[in-house]
Amino acid sequence: MADTTVEKADATVPAAATAWRSHGTTRRSTHTLRLRVSAALVALTALAVLLVPPLVQLDQQAVDLAAKLLPPSWSHPFGTDDVGRDLLLRCVYGLRVSLLVGVVAALTATVIGTAVGAAAGAFGGWVDRLVMRLVDTLSSVPHLLLGIFIVALFRPGVWPVVISVALTHWLSTARIVRAEILSLRSRPYVDAAVSGGASRLRVALRHLLPGVLPQAGLAAVLMIPHAMWHESALSFLGLGLPAHTASLGTLIQGARGSLLAGQWWPTLFPGLFLIIPTLAIAGLAGVWRERINPRRRSELTL
């Protein structure tokens, strides 16, 4: 399995981070290895998602009952599902849908979060208190439950899912951005800009926002797997995407019947397609985090 390499690489870095047991060169080599493997996996995912659909057309309705539920073999590496469709191809298509929903939702959430957090941090005072109180209130509703609530009222379709994921995920970004802005506000260069006569808006857009963009970008990247996970959970519960636009969650949901009959492959592979991009993105984000904030350890950030 390709992903075990990532994890092993992950595992040694914290050991080296313990101050008095520095491993020197070992650390650097696992570090680059982790970076390369993660980057390769992300690139592979992106390529598969972008290139396979134009090259291999998949008719989502096409049924080949003679070839139903074949175990993995050379002609069908992942086997076939209960109506004889090739699972590898369906997984790639499902990954495409999940990834698309994840990216759009993560971007939306990051934009909302950055705007709200920056506004709260830049205005301060009662605006800040009110906004953060709202964030606290919203974050005390479990995400998936709020997502289910929104999807149940607005379904069906792709957009309710995107909206529900975006609306539940901007809170952490807003907190991070606000904290960052608050620490930037006391810097001398901001004081210099203010005494130079810069308006509040100019200070916020020109001097504060660029400072928080790396953090916001990192939060956005880390949010993609989370958003994908969220989407597949909703789809798995039958509340997400309609069955003809198969996402990974829909695939797992659809495989429940054949799982109970003993066929494990329609369940196993869509799940692996969720895990591998998640680990790869987490590996990349860990390296990025070390670069923008070297003092903080990159663990526990999946």
Binding site: L144, F154, L274
Partner: protein, 330 residues
């Protein structure tokens, strides 16, 4: 053992209870506002398939009876005032009052979540300490890699694979439900055997987070002066590890336990669905599929209250365990 600071704890609980009121008000108000903004039609949801054959006059009368045309703020206020007296409305999908439906199912969800969380905490502490003892060792690498992969794996996927392995292939555990299909009474033994698989999967889904944090906390504590001092005094490795490193390493973890309640509820939602566990989480999914608004609103409120209670519990624990923290200042 010193006596517990009951007065300070009471104050904290009372203050949090007061703070929870506006949060719950805002959440329920938001739920009603969302419902008003959505294309969801309460009349059709109430009448169900009967709405298809009904004439316009009947529908209008129903609309009038349900008071759908009034502004949502009014309906929210009415719902709230009757909710205070214990009347949460009627659930159309469960065909019983919402309070009753929740009451019946709350026990099973609490049982599932408590067992799973206890297992996750105990096992997570054990694995975390073992992994932190020798950073970079084979055990540490195995535990950390497993934790990362498990954290990335969707819990419903793990649950399905567990069903396949334990219920279908090995045939040792039942695949779902609360009791065997033939039995009419709920016996402790049957519940226990049906509980193992869902609770195990839920615990496994909570485990990675806990293991990684304990490992981090204990690993950090092992590098600090008190531990070096304890080693220099010649204390046994066991005392150093459990008495010095684990005690201070667990502190940051304790504050975060409360923040896991939402994740626990999320996990329970998915696990209960897979295993047909008759808890409130599975009821949430049913309510959402049938757009049963009264039940959905009550469950959302309940989950929010659970999260707030979890936060309170974590703060209480932290204040009790860490002598530097004053409960009155939280």
């Amino acid at each position: 053992m010193r006596t517990l600071p009951w007065a300070a704890m009471g104050h904290l609980v009372a203050r949090r209870a007061l703070l929870a009121v506006p949060v719950l008000l805002a959440v329920t108000f938001g739920a009603f506002a969302l419902a008003a903004a959505s294309p969801f039609d309460p009349v059709k949801a109430y009448a169900g398939t009967a709405a298809l054959g009904a004439d316009q006059e009947t529908l209008d009368r129903l609309r009038d009876n349900l008071g759908v045309d009034r502004p949502f703020a009014v309906r929210w206020w009415e719902w709230l005032t009757s909710a205070v007296t214990g009347d949460l409305g009627h659930s159309s999908v469960m065909r019983q009052p919402v309070a009753e439906a929740i009451g019946e199912r709350l026990v099973w969800s609490t049982l599932l979540c408590t067992v799973a969380f206890a297992v996750a905490v105990l096992l997570g502490t054990l694995l975390g300490v073992l992994a932190a003892r020798r950073p970079g060792s084979l055990l540490d690498r195995t535990v950390t890699s497993l934790a990362y992969s498990l954290e990335a794996a969707p819990v419903f996927w793990i649950a399905l694979l567990a069903v396949w392995l334990f219920a279908l292939n090995l045939g040792v555990l039942p695949a779902g439900g609360l009791t065997d299909t033939g039995s009419e009474h709920v016996t402790a033994g049957q519940v226990a055997s049906h509980l193992i698989l869902p609770a195990g999967v839920l615990a496994v889904s909570q485990l990675p987070w806990f293991t990684l944090y304990v490992r981090q906390g204990v690993g950090d504590a092992l590098a600090e002066d008190p531990v070096r001092g304890a080693r220099a005094r010649g204390l046994a490795e066991r005392t150093v590890l459990l008495g010095h490193a684990l005690r201070s390493g667990l502190l940051p973890v304790l504050t975060l336990i409360g923040s896991r309640v939402p994740e626990l509820i999320t996990g329970a939602l998915l696990v209960e669905t897979v295993f047909s566990w008759p808890g409130i989480a599975a009821a949430t999914v049913e309510a959402a599929t049938a757009v049963d608004f009264p039940l959905l609103a009550a469950l959302t409120t309940l989950a929010t209250a659970a999260v707030l209670a979890g936060n309170l519990l974590a703060d209480l624990l932290y204040g009790l365990v860490d002598p530097r923290v004053k409960l009155n200042e939280m």
